[in-house]
């Protein structure tokens, strides 16, 4: 049962294992699943092991048991339409029964098992002919089950029944924020960035190495010989360059701020500098970019093993990047082209990435983004992108 569903989950990148699928079958054989709602919940708990995939699961579920198309550019709109349709239909069982092609009484008298069976039949139909939106609810079997606990021996539920059928719940996409494309929280950032750490022994020798102590004590004929080690500490150096100027970065303030907070609380050896749009001869360590300038040329004296992370949307007027006097500030002295500076930085620090908060889809529309991408490996500032960036930064081959 539901083999198609299982493979769709797999194809869409949710790591579901055959074992867990068999377990789901077991749960159904044991009579634990009485309705589509319960199937939704049980299948998710058993098959999907991370909240990051919940959103994808919801989408696939809605698609599979409903015909909601996913990855459609208008998916959001369609979801809205479907939701309102569904609401209407739930108010009006007759219409729903009509659409399902059975009369209302039959629908109400159907046991959950029958409903599931009926539902499966519809499903077969659907794999043969699926015409986009017109069958949305048709296959839903959104069921009398949605309204109240139909299964005996059910749970005490907090408060009134939510009247949500599984598909409706799935369509709400409650877990969008947890999906890999969702906005970043500091928490998730931590998960991704911690892998950057490079532990190395440092500081005083104040940790007892028990294995060595035992060994040396034995060698010493039982006379106790205690061996101390240095403790491990993070020795990673990070330079974070943040574009904090201009309206073009405004929509991303939140996410950049999150990154900033995370980085400053987690990395011991962290330098943060600010720039506007692109880098000329100087960057600033104060966010106002006024008081504490730093010569970019001096960066050559830094440890070349430092990880350089640049955050910016990389979109600007091309002359800002290419023209020797491109800087848009009056007090900036002519200082060579910005693109040369960027190349210099990329050459100085072999572990470098550019994090772009803009969606990759938009990258190709900005010429400067394309140019900068040729200098720095560019990643999207999302959990997914960040993970890839960290992977890139930690890999030794360059």
């Amino acid at each position: 049962m539901f083999v198609d569903f299982f493979y769709t989950l797999r194809d869409r990148g949710i790591p579901v294992t055959p074992t867990s699928f068999l377990r789901l079958q077991k749960a159904m054989n044991m009579g634990l699943v009485h309705s589509l709602d319960e199937f939704y919940t049980a299948a998710r708990a058993i098959l999907v092991k991370s909240e990051r995939y919940f959103d994808t699961y919801d989408q696939i579920f809605a698609h599979h048991f409903h015909g909601a198309s996913f990855e459609d550019p208008t998916a959001v709109e369609l979801t809205e339409i479907a939701r309102s349709l569904l609401d209407e239909w739930l108010k009006n069982p007759e219409e729903m029964a009509d659409a399902l092609g059975i009369d209302k009484e039959t629908l109400e008298n159907m046991t959950p098992e029958e409903l599931i069976q009926y539902f499966l039949d519809r499903l077969k139909e659907q794999t043969e002919a699926h015409h986009g939106g017109n069958k949305w609810i048709g296959t839903g079997g959104t069921s009398p089950t949605g309204h109240s606990g139909i299964h005996p021996g059910g749970m005490r539920v907090g408060g009134e029944s939510r009247n949500h059928s599984a598909i409706k719940v799935a369509m709400e996409r409650r877990y969008r924020d947890y999906s890999q494309e969702g906005p970043l929280t500091q928490f998730q950032m931590g998960e991704a960035m911690k892998r950057l750490r490079r532990m190395a022994p440092t500081g005083p020798r104040d940790i007892v190495n028990i294995d060595k102590t035992v060994y040396e004590t034995m060698r010493n004929a039982g006379e106790i010989e205690i061996i101390f080690d240095r403790r491990l500490a993070d020795r990673l150096k990070v330079i974070l360059l943040i574009d904090n100027g201009g309206w073009s970065m405004d929509p991303y303030i939140d996410v950049v701020q999150t990154l900033f907070h995370y980085a400053s609380s987690q990395f011991k050896d962290l330098k943060i500098y600010f720039f506007h749009n692109t880098i000329y001869s100087r960057v600033w360590s104060d966010p106002q970019r006024q008081f504490k300038p730093e010569q970019v040329d001096d960066f050559i004296r830094r440890d070349p093993e430092t990880r350089l992370i640049i955050v910016g949307d990389a979109s600007m007027a091309p002359y800002e990047l290419m023209h020797p006097n491109g800087a848009i500030y009056i007090d900036a002295k002519p200082s060579g082209t910005s693109i040369e500076r960027l190349r210099f930085l990329a050459k100085t620090f072999r572990h470098c990435v550019w994090l772009n908060p803009m969606h990759p889809r938009e990258w190709e529309y900005t010429r400067t983004t394309e140019i900068i991408r040729q200098i720095f490996p560019m990643f999207e500032l999302t959990l997914d992108g960040l993970e890839k960036a960290v992977q890139y930064l930690t890999s030794t081959k360059k």
Partner: protein
């Protein structure tokens, strides 16, 4: 379904508001005899769930608080060498020094295995431990037995405990670990759910007060630049504080005056941001 089985279904507890989804997952996990892994924001009641199951099914609850330096063996049993050395040198105890078993103490998992009735085993904050610990532990939980090397004895579970595992996701859990658990992510409760939760904790609270506190609370969660958003736990404590303050009137919140911000925001930077934005909003 036999009557006995019916009784062993989880229906929520007096101090815990359960949503139907979670209830279903708990029941499925119990029936399949699989550990249930719970993730979610701090303060969404992951740990409370285990307490609630224990209360509702009247099973004893055994809590294993995982620590970062923990070795699996500590969770299983402990061989108390020091006491044995002491006994052998001074000989004033009633224990038999030549019997090592007298010096084996059960750890939390061991206790759950040897208990006379079915227990709830809560393994709290598993993500603190390293991956080896997690994988090894699952082997033990899978087979429901472990060996005590010192006395060459195998301990088998008399009753398969109900296992609830919580994680704050500080680290990624390994695939084999995830493969053997059922998983649920407790989302932050929506305002309606929150009302129920508040009702459970403060049954006779003034309607108006509930409205404004929950309204304000969700508003405060939306403030910009907050690192650790206040969670259910903070809200409960906050309401408790407001209740005990004789000078407090619900009207104050409507006017944008929020007392006891420090209960909601635990980090000084957050508190500062919040205080600023609250005052600004008041104009």
């Amino acid at each position: 379904m036999s009557t006995e089985k019916k009784n062993s279904q989880f229906r929520g507890a007096s101090r815990y508001v359960l949503d139907d989804e979670l209830a279903e997952i708990v029941n499925v996990s119990m029936a399949l005899e699989m550990p249930l892994l719970l993730k979610g924001e701090p303060g969404t009641g992951k740990t409370m769930l285990a307490h609630a199951i224990a209360e509702s099914l009247q099973m004893p609850l055994i809590i294993l608080n995982v620590k970062s330096s923990m070795k699996l063996i500590e969770a299983l049993y402990q061989y108390d060498t020091l006491t044995r050395l002491n006994d052998s040198r001074f000989g004033d105890s009633k224990r038999d020094v030549s019997n090592i078993e007298a010096y084996i103490k059960m750890g939390k998992i061991g206790q759950a295995f040897t208990a006379d009735k079915r227990t709830i085993l809560l393994i709290d904050e598993i993500d603190k431990a390293d991956t080896d610990f997690q994988d090894d532990m699952l082997d033990v939980l899978d087979q429901m037995q472990f060996d005590i090397i010192e006395i060459d004895k195998t301990v088998r579970a008399k009753h398969r405990p109900v296992i609830v595992i919580t994680s704050n996701a500080k680290k990624d859990l390994s695939d084999p670990f995830l493969g053997r658990c059922n998983f649920h992510h407790i989302a932050f409760p929506d305002p309606d759910m929150m009302r129920l939760i508040v009702d459970v904790h403060f049954p006779n609270l003034d309607e108006e007060l509930v409205d404004v506190t929950i309204g304000t609370f969700y508003h405060l969660r939306e403030l910009r630049g907050i690192e650790k958003k206040p969670a259910t736990r903070e809200l409960i404590n906050w309401i408790r504080a407001l209740k005990s303050d004789p000078d407090f009137k619900p009207k104050m919140l409507k006017q944008g005056r929020v007392p006891f911000l420090g209960i909601l925001f635990k980090k000084s930077a957050d508190l500062y941001h919040a205080a600023q934005q609250v005052t600004k909003a008041r104009g």
